[in-house]
Symmetry: D2
Subunit: 367 residues, 4 copies
């Protein structure tokens, strides 16, 4: 036998005993830089919207299925079973939920954290651990791990929102817990507008929340977010991210969504952000405006409602090509990277990337 | 010699060698419950105001004297040298500062923390580490330890505010540092309204403040504080403190004033709070309204502008006797007690104290 | 079309657009309890040892391959590409490294944390960030993320040790970094026995380490570990884990291996531990003695040198059937679960599990 | 009236209303650098020992007096009432306690933290929250705030130790709590040598102490401390402090004495440490050897048993003039300064101070 044949024979025996040779696999397992399987990708709102509305005719939200959501599957991750674990990034699931007038979605709890960003409609509310929160376009809501939650729609128009959870993270760790509430909907035990009334203003904490700091603010209203960004806009924009605010727990300064970071950016007209990259991955949803982002040298054009993903360690920059302010909502796994001391970031020396290609959808998305 | 004579002779020799007998002093040094030397006391605004205005004719704020402030001296602490260390509680100094139109107070820094609560006037600003902050009635400002600060008055009416610092604490620890700025006033390096523009809304932190969290919010405007209390007022009041919000660092949830806690309470008309006590001491300043507080069984009547002190571990309760909401600003050393793990508190079982006496000023304040 | 046909047609269209229906996949993605793909398994030392020694004739540790390690592949995880990511649990890689007399393994660093537990031999040392640490049987060493490390063998017998890294975690997060040192071996810059001389005794920290607390103790000697367990043995054993000590950073009390927990257990003769389960997974290596563990109702018999794995949330209990003390080294991902607030645990009500099956190797390991 | 007369008249009126003028007192209250009232001082062991032994003939430890201790009164602080608050530094009390064969000291608890360093004798034990700890020369013990503690002497020689508590700090804050145990001595509930058996080795924490970290190690044996210092002595000494270890909580790395820092230094023969200063104050007790310290330019000669004090921010350096190693035990308020963010330190540029004077006791100590 040649040396190589001896090695192959040895590898075969190793494999049969559930063992492996590090020297032969180290370079694929321990890459010099991150090689995420997640790829940059973009979904057009028209498509997503149509699919979601169609689901309204096909299924109802009921015990077992629990929620009527069409979720995004990162083409680089969808081979994973089951269902690509619903991965949009390596740690995050995201989807668009539809609740029709008069519908209810059952109450449950799980050890995944969830955040919600409202896209269309009004008149529906979610109940989180006894607190009823009405939802309006642009609102940001949190459903921290372990809290009961369900939804009720009292309005007369379809209600759509973006859900984001750390499902792939918890699934991959092998530690998922999920529990259905004994009743279809949990009882409401707190006065309406509980959070809104308690948390309106920066730096003022209700005295009673000194001891009780687990996710005290259930909702961040769009009108407030708008106000905060308008305030910031009197100053210079960040060269990379424009005017940007993070949603945080006002009692601790930690990410409002616990393992899930979230922010809202406002890019003024003609803003062309500089490129940077970071270890954490991000999911973007265009709230208003039109423009493009360059991710790893590929140009992704976007407008209101589109969703796109920035994988870990990919260079990226954002450009507003429209006549007015663009607003980008995004969510990320920065808190996970920080908790595990894995975060790094760097600026792109030349400022802007050269554009090698323009993303055109399914066809060009094969890497 | 009798045994007692032998002991006295022994004590005399001990004393001459700078030694002491614990068995003879333990009961005075280690009391069963706190016996603060600070006493409950109240100053009427009319008096304080007149003294402060008179000082405007006698002295100017200049390098060396630095500030034109009339400070409160707790009758139980004023024997301490020098000047009772300016003690209103065991750890806190407080006084009323006057800045006249056209005046400037020089720039300095120190290792005491300071907070300011604006009482009258407008058109003056303070500069803290390059950030100019205009001051209006009801605003709360912070000047954390180590930051340069000075004041300039561009308006046309006298400007009065309450200062509170942890001077007695730092003095008693024997570790005071103070430094004058090489220039009379430091240069302004940040855009106007820097803090106000960055921090308006609960739970939204400017992205750029993720890394830079030392005292990011320099001012808490009265209009915002009012808004927060109005929001809270849609819910049930706290049985002890009514509607109350603490001033906190919005990036961390810690006390905005670092070692100095501060809060604003709104007592609705006819509110009669239940009694409690806590290890930390507090200084109250009546922002609006009229009523009384019962401290250790003594009734202290108050109205707008009055200042009173609640010593450590004293029972206390607050009552609004006026036709409209009363607002009480207060400051305390809770952060010190928490940092040293000394805080405790308890509710008064009977709810309200029996009133044994009514405070009438200097005469009755002798213990 | 029937409803079901319509749904299937819809699902096909969804899939082609990289979208998915939550209602149809929620029950597989969000299980009621953890369903880790990792399975309980055990490798006999004789097998592993032979494979490792054979590798000594086939390959050398050199730049590129870096290390001569035979690693364990959990049968439930090996379908993952590449190489099952070297997963023994969902987050942890482990393998047995061989260094022959006179050999050197090159210097590199990576953002995975590593720990090492020495199995056989002496005379070799590892250099971690300029500190040379000699390795002897039973020693526990750490190589925290980001520190340069390489190995040199000056002795005359083969040196074997167990390596454990958080490779699968970091790989799955998509954020791996790896860097080769410009030289084959880094220079030694610290005196020999640096850690041993600085950290011997509980509760005494070198004054100079007050500020410098990143992984101050590079090695935990077996003689010390033995001493600690002997001390504990004067007290009652823990009903589940016997006498057990965790390897922690003596300057902070955190896990010595950062994301990797590790402990040494001593089970006295006839000890039959009670069953419990916890969210974190664990890898066990038998240091001394003989006995068995019951994992999920299956009995795994073990003796010195064997390696076995306890998946997340699996019931397990340990039994010493030998005449003398058994020592079990183990490593786990508890620090990850704690950092992400995912940890839970519970005791088995009946104390001991019923044994349904006895593990006999490859054949019976198919679940 | 002249301006000055007007001011004096005004000051008089202010004073009568319990008010004060900041501009006239700022320079005494807010000094450029710390001006602690504590002064450097030294007590000879012969004196202290004789006084302590004499107390053994005069009093017994009994309920009310509680402990037979002769405490040190810093000459700069003894004017304070009562009893100078037992202040040796601004925050710390220290004294020498005597327990005679057969004696018992009653059980109590308080919100001051205490540490103990054993000077002479054996056969006595202290009980802390049910844990009996035998005391031998050189041992360091902790009695954290809130835990019941009492002493029993079963040996046949007098037992002496140094006590240190944060009495002046807690007294000055006005928040002292003290409580006598309903029984004279509390029951012993833990096995003997509980701490010693659980905590012997650096970096190994009993698994069961993962959740229970409040002061897990009650005693630090001299033999262990010696071992730790001998290990360190294989390396270079710190230029200021020689070989020095801090007593820390092995489960957290925080000061073992909570608010009270403590360390043991070993100065090799001929060691002449460089000068430095720091905000925190310190109390030194000479455990072995002879030498001198220069504090603020004054030379304090010391030998075994002597006690001396280094006030806040005073320059100081230590010199061993004897033929063998000198050991200095010391205790300090560094944890308080750190908790309040007040700590600073600096090295003396010239390395050693010029000596202006030699301390000769009472006579020269008048400042
Ligand atoms: Fe949910
Ligand atoms: Fe980014
Ligand atoms: Fe100041
Ligand atoms: Fe109160
Ligand atoms: Fe490595
Ligand atoms: Fe376990
Ligand atoms: Fe005591
Ligand atoms: Fe020092």
């Amino acid at each position: 036998m040649t040396t190589d044949e001896r090695l192959q024979e040895y590898y075969g025996r190793l494999q049969s005993r559930h063992l492996g040779p590090l020297w032969d696999s180290l370079q694929s397992i321990m890459t010099k830089e991150p090689k995420p399987r997640a790829i940059p990708y973009l979904w057009k709102w028209r498509d997503v919207h149509d699919f979601v509305m169609e689901s309204g005719q096909l299924v109802t939200p009921e015990r077992g299925g629990e929620r009527r959501v069409v979720f995004f599957r990162n083409p680089g991750l969808e081979a994973l079973e089951p269902w690509g674990w619903g991965s949009l990034t390596h740690t995050l699931y995201a989807g668009v939920q539809l609740l029709l007038p008069g519908e209810k979605a059952p109450s449950h709890r799980h050890n995944q954290n969830a955040i919600r960003f409202i896209l269309e409609g009004s008149g529906a509310y979610t109940v989180v651990e006894g607190e009823r929160v009405y939802m309006e376009e642009g609102d940001f809501l949190i459903t921290p791990a372990g809290l009961w939650h369900d939804h009720v729609h009292e309005g007369d128009q379809p209600m759509l929102w973006l859900d984001c959870l750390d499902i792939p993270l918890v699934y991959e760790l092998g530690v998922t817990f999920f529990e259905a509430h004994p009743e279809f909907n949990q009882p409401v035990t707190r006065p309406d507008n509980f959070s809104v009334d308690r948390y309106s203003v920066a730096g003022l904490r209700p005295l009673q929340d000194r001891e009780n700091r687990y996710a005290p603010q259930a909702v961040f209203k769009w009108s407030q977010t708008k106000l905060a960004l308008d305030g910031l806009s009197n100053q210079d924009p960040d060269p990379v991210d424009g005017y940007a605010v993070e949603y945080v727990n006002p009692a601790t300064g930690e990410a409002a969504g616990h393992t899930i970071g979230a922010m809202m950016q406002k890019l003024p007209s003609n803003f062309h952000g500089q490129a940077h990259r970071h270890v954490h991955g991000a999911i973007y949803h265009v709230t208003r405006g039109e423009g493009y982002s360059v991710i790893g040298g590929v140009r992704f054009d976007w407008q209101k409602g589109d969703t796109f993903v920035i994988p870990n360690w990919a260079w990226h920059e954002h450009v507003n090509t429209g006549p007015s302010d663009a607003y980008l909502f995004s969510t990320n796994d920065l808190p996970v990277m920080e908790a595990l001391h894995l975060e790094r970031s760097e600026r792109y020396t030349e400022g802007h990337q050269a554009i090698s290609e323009r993303f055109t959808g399914v066809e060009s998305s094969v890497l």
